[in-house]
């Protein structure tokens, strides 16, 4: 799956994946040595039991909440589309699959027909191809932005929260400044500086998005820092890094998970808006927002059939809507499930 062209984005993505993998490993591991069998295995199982029970409890709550099931299904659907994109919509040029094939140059969109399942938009770009590969674009953008913002925020926030003092003050003033601006407005400014492209949008969004994670992590770290078990870990002689990663972070992770799932949708909304406005993906690129941008001139059809070009607006929009809806439902469900206060009824 060819992901991105810009080396910076590639590095960011790789880092995000690496960090994610590391944290998952840390969360699950209870002993440093790989456990194979014997007494060690039973001890491992015993120590995992409370975690497994919590997990089972969480899963049951997921089952009980119909909205979260819907969310998971929607996202699974999109994942399937993204993975099967080359099969569902064969690219004309295997080296540049994100270029939507054009069937002529006529500006008038044409309704769904046998050649073009969802019709064509202005300039005869195939809508079906666009929305299929647009799914990949959406995942790409959201994973990179959320992953990188999460990483940066994690590092900054945990350092600020854990060490406190002047380090904390400085970092927090910086985040205050960033958080004074609505995301899209600040991102617009950065994109103007970087030049309009999807990569600029991603970079701009990462810059704009990390402070909220830093804030969140810091708040969690602050509350966890005072807990007795952290004192205990330090008293036993744990190094700072060890204390942070093994004790402080795992307990702070829940709100971050909630925020990350919600942001997966939010990022796509902002990125689509930027592309719509003309500041993001270039013309003819498989991006949902960009495709809706095409339809601006065709909202009102000829008199007598004003809804003639509905498919140029409705179809890509539905894809965005359901993608974001899925993540919002999931994030909301996470919030209800993982909130310790609301858990036990």
């Amino acid at each position: 799956m060819s992901l991105m062209t810009d080396p910076i984005s590639q590095i960011a993505f790789a880092l995000a994946l690496f960090a994610l993998g590391l944290s998952i490993l840390k969360l699950l591991s209870t002993s440093r040595l790989t456990v194979l069998f014997g007494a060690r295995w039973t001890k491992f199982k015993a120590s995992m039991k409370p975690r497994m029970r919590e997990l089972k409890f969480s899963l049951r709550r997921v089952k009980d909440s119909p909205l979260s099931i819907v969310g998971i299904c929607i996202i699974a659907f999109f994942v399937a589309i993204a993975l099967l994109a080359p099969v569902l919509a064969r690219p004309e040029d295997p080296d540049d699959p994100y270029r939507i094939p054009r069937d002529g140059f006529s500006p008038t969109p044409r309704p769904p027909n046998e050649n073009h399942r969802f019709g064509t938009t202005e300039g005869q770009f195939d809508i079906y191809y666009g929305v299929i590969w647009g799914t990949r674009t959406a995942f790409r953008v959201s994973i990179i932005v959320v992953g990188a913002a999460l990483l940066i925020g994690l590092v900054v926030g945990s350092i600020a929260g854990y060490y406190g003092g002047i380090v904390d003050e400085i970092f927090m003033r910086i985040t205050d400044i960033f958080l004074a601006f609505p995301y899209i407005i600040l991102a617009m400014a950065f994109v103007t500086a970087f030049g309009a492209s999807l990569d600029s949008v991603m970079k701009a969004l990462i810059i704009v998005w990390w402070p909220s994670y830093a804030r969140l992590i810091r708040a969690e770290v602050l509350s966890v820092r005072e807990e007795d078990y952290v004192e205990a870990a330090k008293a036993v002689g744990g190094s700072d890094f060890r204390v942070i990663t093994r004790h402080v972070l795992p307990n702070s992770i829940y709100p971050v998970l909630v925020m990350a799932s919600l942001d997966m949708g939010a990022v796509v909304l902002v990125a689509a808006a930027m592309s719509f406005l003309g500041l993001g993906a270039p013309v003819g690129y498989a991006d949902w927002g960009q495709m809706i941008g095409f339809s601006r001139n065709w909202i009102v059809g000829p008199p007598g059939n004003p809804l003639a070009y509905w498919y140029t607006v409705v179809i890509p929009g539905l894809f965005i809507f359901f993608f974001v809806l899925g993540w919002n439902l999931l994030g909301d469900a996470f919030r209800d499930i993982l909130d310790p206060k609301l858990r036990r009824r």
Binding site: F57, R60, R61, R344, R345
Partner: protein, 384 residues
């Protein structure tokens, strides 16, 4: 002495994600007129649930499944569990009141003391207040000289409103008028009268400077003062029964003593019965006439306070007394842990921890029996 309140076979269950918590399985107790009944037991044994259920305020996901709660009204006994909300609202706060453990949590931080205590009067003593207001209005009308003065017209209008309030308290017109910003000033008189009564009751609670305190917000008062305000709210309408759920546990020892003294005094003055819930045996000894001992949702022993201290019969009660720390004596705790109420022990719920357990104990639930005069125990040791 006749019974004021009789709780029979009260069964309450909580429907939670993890299973059905069988909180109360057939609780039996009775409170007589003018007496203080203590209810003692470990945390989680169901004392608070019992009290809340009497007022039908069982917190969700709890449900009252079976039982009767008989309250004496005029010459008959009324089963509270079968009554509707309107009836219960009449009872709550004026016939039966309840005070809770944390006074700072019980008081609403965004309203003044006046607001909160007057509320009780405004709900339950409306008629009385209206009559007082009408007297005041008549007085004011008489004082006015001119015949056509505006003030006279306003007063006559107010008089009309209050007369209507007296006759038809739920009138639709009044409800509408209440909402209109400028018009609703007529309520000031009513609130003024309620305020006077509030100051009066605060004074009886031995709160210094009640005129000043009424204007304060809860967070401006100390813990002891807050609890006095809470007690004032509860006793405002002279209830026949006051239920106190560990009212002094969160206060320091000196304040605790003051509040206990206050409750004792007020009981004498007002003549109400008190259901005193606590886990502190010392307080029981000081305050109560009779005591009920609860364990895991069951009342296992019920007796007069002297009798209980002198001759505890149930093994749990004996163990409780044994566990009181005394200097020089070895601290004996009760072995085992409080049972899980989702899957409670069969038969007598205490049997896994009981030093005198017999074969029959896990099989049959023991019933309360009068073993000595006025001394009830639910234990197979005494059922011969």
């Amino acid at each position: 002495m006749e019974k004021l309140l009789d709780v029979r076979d009260l069964v309450v269950r909580f429907y939670t994600y993890e299973g059905i918590v069988k909180a109360l399985e057939g609780v039996n107790l009775d409170i007589r007129k003018g007496e203080t009944l203590g209810l003692v037991g470990e945390t989680g044994c169901g004392k608070s649930v019992t009290a809340l259920s009497i007022l039908l305020l069982t917190p969700p996901p709890g449900k009252i499944e079976e039982g009767k709660v008989l309250l004496k009204q005029a010459k008959r006994y009324v089963d509270l569990l079968r009554q509707d909300e309107a009836f219960m609202r009449n009872i709550r706060g004026s016939d039966i009141s309840m005070i809770f453990q944390e006074p700072s949590a019980a008081l609403n931080p965004v309203y003044t003391v006046d607001d909160q205590v007057s509320e009780v009067f405004l709900v339950h003593r409306r008629e009385e207040l209206c009559k007082k207001v009408l007297e005041g209005i008549e007085d004011d009308i008489r004082k006015i000289k001119g015949r056509l003065s505006l003030r006279r017209m306003v007063l006559k209008w107010e008089r009309g409103i209050y007369r209507r309030m007296l006759k038809k308290p739920n009138s639709f017109l009044l409800k509408v008028l209440q909402k209109i910003p400028f018009v609703k000033r007529y309520q000031r008189r009513l609130k003024g009268e309620a305020r006077k009564m509030t100051v009066q009751i605060l004074r009886e609670m031995e709160i210094p400077n009640p005129d000043d305190v009424v204007n304060r917000y809860p967070h401006e008062l100390s813990g002891g003062m807050q609890q006095r305000v809470v007690i004032a709210m509860a006793l405002a309408c002279n209830p026949r029964l006051l239920m106190a759920d560990e009212p002094t546990t969160s206060l320091d020892v000196t304040t605790q003593a003051q509040i206990l003294d206050l409750i004792r005094k007020l009981k004498g003055e007002f003549g109400s019965s008190v259901l005193y819930i606590t886990h502190n045996l010392g307080v029981i000894a000081e305050m109560c006439d009779r005591v009920g001992v609860m364990y895991a949702g069951d009342v296992c022993e019920l007796a007069g306070v002297r009798e209980l201290f002198k001759d505890p019969l149930h093994p749990y009660t004996k163990a409780l007394f044994g566990a009181i720390p005394k200097p020089g004596k070895k601290l004996r705790s009760i072995g085992g842990t409080v049972p899980n109420l989702i899957d409670p022990p069969t038969g007598c719920r205490f049997h896994p921890r009981c030093p005198k357990v017999m074969e029959i104990c896990p099989k049959v639930v023991p019933k309360m029996k009068e073993v000595k005069k006025g001394h009830f125990v639910a234990c197979h040791l005494y059922s011969k």
